[in-house]
Each structure stands twice: as C-alpha cells, then as structure tokens.
C-alpha cells in the first residue's frame, strides 16, 4: 500500500464500492446505499492511514472498525438500514478473504508435500495466513462491538 493521500482516497473509493455492492447483495434498499458506501469509505480511509503510520494489519483493522462503529452510534438513525448493518457492511471490505483462501489452500498443500522438510516449509506460511485471518476478523468484530456495547443502552428506540 502506497503512503500517499492518493492511495488513501483510492482505497476509500474502493471501500465504498465494495460496501455498496455487498449492501445490494444483502438487500439493502437503494436509498440506504449512500450510508453504507460512506461507512465503507471511512473504514478503508482509517485503515489505510493507520497502515501508513505503521500499524499492523490487525491493529489498523481494529482502529478502522472502532472508528466506524463509534461514528455510526452518533449519527441519526434511519429506517432505511440499521446501524448494525451499516457497521458490518463498512467492515466487510476489510475481511481478509484472500488470506483465508491462501491459508486453507496452504493447509491442504501440507499433506501432499514429498518430504517432512518440505511440509515444514509449507506449514509456516499457512499458519501465518491462518493466524492473520483469525486475528483480523477478531479485531474487526471487537472494534465494532465495543462502541455498540458502550452506547447502545442509551438509545432503546433506535435501530
């Protein structure tokens, strides 16, 4: 990822597109799409900035999820799309699906290696990818959950 404002804007744009695309797949109404796209853009902007200043992927994902969830808790509610759905859709572009596929393929490949040494060599990247997936998804879920758990009880009538 390039350390430049252009990269940040580009990632925010692609995050918005991914969130809006997934929103349609999850049957969000068209009028609710701008909120989802804005959430995705904010999440990717924060994550890109955090990566640029030296955060790890997991820490940057946590920061982005936390910021989005906190912002969503304080913007006025809408009956077009729920707060929970906006948070989740904003974070979906940060789910490490590519790493997950690599991790599983890597684990598949361990058993077909011709020697123990080759299996050991294949094991390390597979484990690294698996742990990265687990920690990143955990960071996203925790980052989204904390603001919701802190502030939700004060708004019993909100979506």
């Amino acid at each position: 990822m390039n350390a430049s404002p252009l990269a940040l804007l580009g990632n925010a744009l692609w995050g918005a597109c991914a969130s809006a695309g997934f929103a349609i797949l999850l049957n969000v109404s068209f009028r609710g799409l701008p909120r989802c796209a804005a959430g995705g853009a904010l999440a990717l902007a924060v994550r890109t900035f955090a990566l640029q200043v030296g955060f790890t992927l997991e820490a940057a994902s946590f920061a982005a999820a936390f910021v989005v969830a906190a912002v969503v808790q304080f913007v006025p509610g809408s009956d077009l799309v729920s707060r929970d759905m906006i948070q989740v859709l904003s974070c979906i572009p940060m789910i490490p699906g590519g790493f997950a596929a690599k991790a599983i393929v890597g684990l598949f490949s361990i058993t077909v290696q011709p020697s123990a040494a080759a299996a050991n060599k294949a094991l390390v990247p597979a484990l690294v990818n698996s742990l990265r997936v687990i920690f990143t998804i955990g960071a996203l879920g925790t980052g989204v959950a904390i603001p919701a758990l802190l502030f939700r009880s004060h708004r019993p009538d909100s979506l």
Binding site: M1, G10, N11, W14, G15, A16, C17, A18, A20, G21, F22, A23, I24, L25, L26, N27, V28, S29, G32, L44, D79, L80, V81, S82, D84, M85, Q87, V88, C91, I92, P93, I95, G97, G98, A100, A101, K102, I104, V105, F108, S109, I137, G138, L140, G141, T142, V144, A145, L149, L159
Partner: protein, 269 residues
C-alpha cells in the same frame, strides 16, 4: 406435512389459553423471519419481546438456537412455551427493516393479534430481493473493488467483474433449485475462479492466482462472521459457536472450489 400449531388443532382449549397461544405463534413467526434475515440474537430477542408484550403478554422469554427458537409467554396466570424450526439462514436487510417497523407498531398497541399475524405474513411475502441482474452487477462491482484493494492489476478488473457477475447469477439459480448451501458455494467458487483465471490468462495477466481468489470473495460470509462474534460477546456462546462453525465450513468449501479450478488451470492459488 406441517402439523400446525396446537391452537389450530385443539380449538376446545380455554379462550385465555388460545389467545396466549396465538400471541406466541405470531411472536415466533417474527423471530423465525428475523433469524432467516440475518438478525443477531439480541435483535431477535428484543423484537420478539416487543411483539409479545405489544399483543398483550405480560412477559416473554426467548431461547435462540441456530436451527430453532423457543418462546415462553405469560398472561393471566397462564404460561406456555412454543418451539419452532428456523429455515436456512440468509441476510435480507429489507425484510429486517419491515419487521422492525411492524414490531414498533405492535409494541405501541396499534395491532390486534389477527392484524399482527396478517402483517407478518404480508411482510414475508412482499420483501423480495433485488433483481438478478442488479445483484449480479453489484457482485461484479464489489469483487472488482476488492481486487483494487488487494492491488490486482487494472487489466484484471474486467475478468474479475465478469466472473463475479456470472458467479452471482449461478449462485442465485442454485439457491432457487434449493441445492445444499455448501455444495453451492463450491460450485460457484469453482465457476467463478475458473472464469476469472481463464480470462486473466487469456489477457496475459501475471496475477492469475490472485484474480481467481478475488472473483469469489462475494461468497465470504461476512454478516454471519460478525454475528457469531456479537452473539459470543453478548453472552450466547452456543449460538455464536454454531455460526462460527458454519462460517469456517463455508470458507473451506469456497476454497475447495478455487482449488479445483486451480487444478484445472494448472495454477496454485
């Protein structure tokens, strides 16, 4: 054959019990549809409680499982518990929003039990998903955007978009035919990654393996993955674990499809 609820088969019960039974039936119908629309357990519990009390129950308790719901409602010294199965889990935000609005009206006491029953059935039948072409284009755009986020080459965006678009069409058709969800994931992943890989190779793109993976990211179960964590964090580890297991199984079946396509193309994803 669905045997129906007890109050439908035993009309000789007392009026109070029949009324309570009808309340439980409507509340469970709300809960079932909410679970099938991708709501978290907390949301289901809140809305079912709103519906039950709005229709006249003094108190209600809900037990949310992965494949079933059980509700206990109480009124006039009468208490009863109902259980019902839940259909295949999915995500349908429009349905959730309609159910939430209906529950809000019921909570204010604006509906009788009969009206609420009619309302929930009407909502269930009226919330159809976006059209196939719209969802397919959306899937193409989402995966192409994912591709740019993962630094795939600009020239690979076309094959990724096309493969994802066609994959979503196939996915929808398989769902229409009620093919097993995990099998469908493997089939869609195979077709999507095969198309993306073939297209990328034909265009001379170097990142064929990455393009194959990106084109099937529409299958990653994002909402269930988050719901699993929310359920665990909110004190429902059994339901959260069940959802997490389904997410893991979905990822494995998705990877199997990509892996098979890689075998056909001679590419290691």
């Amino acid at each position: 054959m669905n045997p129906g609820f007890p109050h439908e088969r035993k009309p000789g019960r007392s009026p109070q019990r029949q009324a309570l039974t009808a309340i439980a039936a409507v509340a469970l119908q709300f809960g079932k549809l909410l679970m099938e629309s991708g709501a978290s357990a907390r949301q289901v519990e809140e809305i079912v409680a709103d519906v039950s009390t709005g229709l006249g129950a003094k108190a209600s308790e809900l037990r949310v499982g992965y494949a079933s719901l059980a509700v206990t409602v109480n009124r006039d010294d009468q208490t009863l518990t109902f259980m019902r199965k839940i259909g295949p889990p999915g995500v349908n935000q429009a349905l959730y929003q309609h159910l939430w609005r209906s529950a809000a009206r019921i909570r204010k006491g604006e509906c009788s039990v009969a009206q609420a029953s009619e309302e929930v059935n009407r909502v269930a039948n009226s919330c159809s998903p976006h059209s196939a072409i719209v969802t397919s284009i959306a899937a193409g755009i989402a995966c192409a955007a994912f591709g740019r986020l993962l630094d795939v080459d600009w020239s690979a965006i076309g094959p990724i978009f096309g493969a994802s678009l066609l994959s979503q069409l196939v996915r929808r058709q398989l769902a229409h035919w009620r093919i097993n969800a995990f099998l469908a994931v493997t089939i869609v992943a195979f077709i999507g990654s095969l198309l993306a890989g073939t297209g990328a190779r034909w265009m001379g793109i170097q990142t064929v393996a990455r393009d194959m993976v990106v084109s099937v990211l529409l299958l990653v179960p994002g909402v269930p993955a988050f719901n699993a964590q929310f359920d665990m964090l909110e004190g429902r580890p059994t339901l959260g674990s069940a959802r997490a297991a389904v997410v893991a199984a979905t990822l494995i079946f998705m990877t199997a499809g990509v892996w098979l396509a890689g075998g056909v193309l001679g590419v290691r994803p």
